[in-house]
């Protein structure tokens, strides 16, 4: 298997309910190194739930989840059986998640938001972590904000800091859950620009977004979710020229917003 084809994330036959509500009915996804996959679809179709299960914030009911071939959960007798706590903590290092509302730590400076997780992970001392954080901040155009506190930043700047915070841990794959939805329209551009630059550098990403044009331009693959199942999937060209009426309707509606 060549480096290019290494599978980073593999989800197979994920099922997830909340009480009686079946949110994910059957979902499978393989993401190879360097790929950008976008997940689109109407509200409540289960997009966030997929990312939350993949990032171990939520437990699947059934299905398998693995990173780089190492299992976080296996399906046994119609139920997901998760690996040990220690094993899961190790797998945590493979992925990062960028939240819709940033979730920066308000009592930490920008710099400490980025460095503390790195230092706690134990691979770098404080000076190395700070160097890394500063170069990331510089790359994201936030060099002069290292000592600021989150409340002093605009939404777009906060989201860029949260991207830097995730990147500092050098994840193999980065998940985005509507990274621009909490932002004023004039601020989405700066965040999309950062994500675009990550794509140019072949960062492996799964992006849940309502930005249709952005998804179309950036993605290697687009998945259209509806009511907990994949309603359409393919290259941007395939999905945007689909015959599926629901998909066409959705894309048309969102794009003209």
């Amino acid at each position: 298997m060549s480096e290019q084809e290494k599978t980073i994330l593999s989800i197979s036959h994920m099922k997830k309910s909340f009480d009686e509500l079946e949110v994910i009915r059957d979902f499978s996804l393989k993401v190879r190194q360097g790929e950008v996959v976008s997940i689109i679809g109407p509200s409540g179709s289960g997009k966030s739930t997929i990312l939350r299960c993949a990032s171990l914030l939520e437990w699947m009911d059934d299905g398998e989840l693995s990173y780089l071939g190492e299992y976080a959960a296996k399906s046994e007798g119609g139920k997901s059986v998760y690996a040990s706590k220690a094993e899961l903590r190790r797998l945590h290092r493979h992925f990062g998640l960028v939240f819709q509302n940033f979730n920066l730590f308000p009592h930490y400076s920008v710099l400490k938001n980025i460095t503390e997780p790195v230092i706690l992970q134990g691979n770098m001392d404080k000076a190395e972590a700070e160097n890394k954080a500063l170069s990331l901040l510089e790359r994201l155009g936030l060099k002069d904000k290292a000592d600021a506190y989150p409340f002093q930043l605009s939404g777009g700047q906060q989201q860029r800091v949260s991207i830097a915070r995730a990147l500092a841990l050098s994840p193999e794959i980065l998940f985005f859950d509507e990274p621009t939805s909490a932002l004023d329209p004039e601020l989405t551009g700066e965040v999309l620009k950062v994500i675009r630059s990550l794509a140019d550098e072949k960062m492996t990403m799964v992006i849940v977004t309502h930005e249709m044009l952005f998804a179309k331009e950036l993605s290697d693959r687009i998945i259209f979710m509806e009511k907990g199942v994949v309603a359409a999937e393919g290259t941007p060209e395939e999905v945007f020229s689909t015959d599926n009426v629901r998909v066409r309707e959705f894309i048309g509606k969102v794009s003209t917003l």
């Binding site: 990032s55 171990l56 914030l57 903590r89 945590h92 290092r93 992925f95 990062g96 998640l97 939240f99 509302n101 979730n103 920066l104 730590f105 308000p106 009592h107 503390e116 997780p117 706690l120 992970q121 506190y149 989150p150 409340f151 915070r165 995730a166 841990l169």
Partner: protein, 216 residues
């Protein structure tokens, strides 16, 4: 009794008051955190016990609780109690009572934290202990400072209840001196003392609040 012995007696009373105040805070602040964990526990038994404990401590007079702590060992278990136990009983009674109030304050603060803070920490690889002590607790402290200040100011005044166990704190001494000398001056001095003590407390808490004002 000359002025000097009067001042000395009041002074020793002051020290005892400060001692009750400081010891109560030192023990009840951490104990209150433990009780709040119990109150929020998923374990039904632990949760119910904590809830009953808090409800009794908040629902009965502190003076009564002090008497129970002091006389309880003798009436319940026939354990002989010496006079040295008085001060200990006062501290135990105050700590148990204030821990209950602090527990409810901690709980409201902890429950007001957005779940996103926990989730971000988890995804970034923080253990649950790291999440609590590095991310959650510092922010909770900032949020609960105003109600804690209220409790601490009440505590200053409540210390005079130690009088119920004849502990020679400020109020007991002032009353004693006042009746011996048939003058209200000692009582006024005591009042002034509590007032200045509380001004000091308010000043310190304000400083503390300011020290956390660097973020929102």
């Amino acid at each position: 009794m000359n002025l000097e012995t009067m001042v000395l007696q009041l002074g020793s009373g002051m020290l005892v008051t400060v001692e009750i105040f400081v010891l109560t805070l030192i023990f009840s602040l951490p104990l209150g955190l433990l009780v709040s964990f119990g109150r929020m526990s998923k374990n039904k038994v632990v949760m119910t016990i904590s809830k009953i404990y808090i409800s009794i401590m908040r629902g009965t007079p502190l003076m009564l609780q002090l008497l129970v702590v002091y006389f309880g060992p003798y009436y319940l278990f026939r354990i002989k109690i010496g006079t040295g136990y008085r001060m200990v009983a006062v501290i135990i009674g105050f700590v148990l009572n204030y821990a209950a109030y602090f527990a409810e304050i901690y709980r409201s603060g902890i429950e007001s934290m957005p779940v996103g803070q926990y989730e971000a920490a988890r995804v970034l690889g923080y253990s649950s202990g790291q999440t609590f002590f590095r991310i959650i607790f510092p922010q909770v402290v900032k949020r609960i400072l105003p109600p804690v200040t209220n409790e601490v100011i009440t505590l200053v005044k409540d210390t005079s209840l130690a009088f119920a166990l004849a502990v020679a704190e400020m109020f007991t001494m002032a009353k004693q001196v006042a009746s011996a000398q048939t003058t209200v001056v000692p009582l006024m001095a005591a009042g002034l003392f509590y007032y200045v003590f509380n001004l000091l407390v308010a000043f310190c808490m304000e400083r503390l609040e300011k020290s956390m004002a660097y973020y929102r």
